[in-house]
Symmetry: C2
């Protein structure tokens, strides 16, 4: 079973990397750009046929390693 996990910074957390990308795009002439924030993306494949169990495993991975819950949010989607 394959899942996609997107990890984003929480709304009030500064995103310096995204800011640099935003400024660079503005310098490239993208005037209608309003805001850009960067996050992480994981494509995870696990051997587990039960979807509920699989999602629980992915959740555990996120909490143990992939996501810093103090400053980040995450979303899990089945692929």
């Amino acid at each position: 079973m394959k899942f996609a996990v997107t990890v984003t910074l929480k709304k009030d957390v500064l995103d310096p990397q995204g800011k640099v990308v935003q400024d660079t795009l503005a310098n490239l002439g993208m005037k209608s750009l309003k805001n850009i924030r960067q996050g992480k993306f994981f494509e995870i494949e696990i051997e587990e046929r039960n979807q509920l169990k699989a999602e629980e495993l992915i959740n555990e991975m996120c909490k143990k390693l992939l996501v810093n819950l103090i400053i980040e949010d995450y979303k899990i989607n089945k692929l």
Copy 2:
């Protein structure tokens, strides 16, 4: 208008960062983990009401800065 852009390494490109994450998760006892690949995620907000034009702009941003088309693929989703 808000868009999500996910950038992933092409299938045959090595992903050393993903490999480290995979090994670490395996060491944490995640035995059913089969494969994990890491990518980038962007949340982009632009001032453009025409969806076609907006998507074209996002496409241009990807090609000019966000994505290395030689080794990466990308997907655009409207939020």
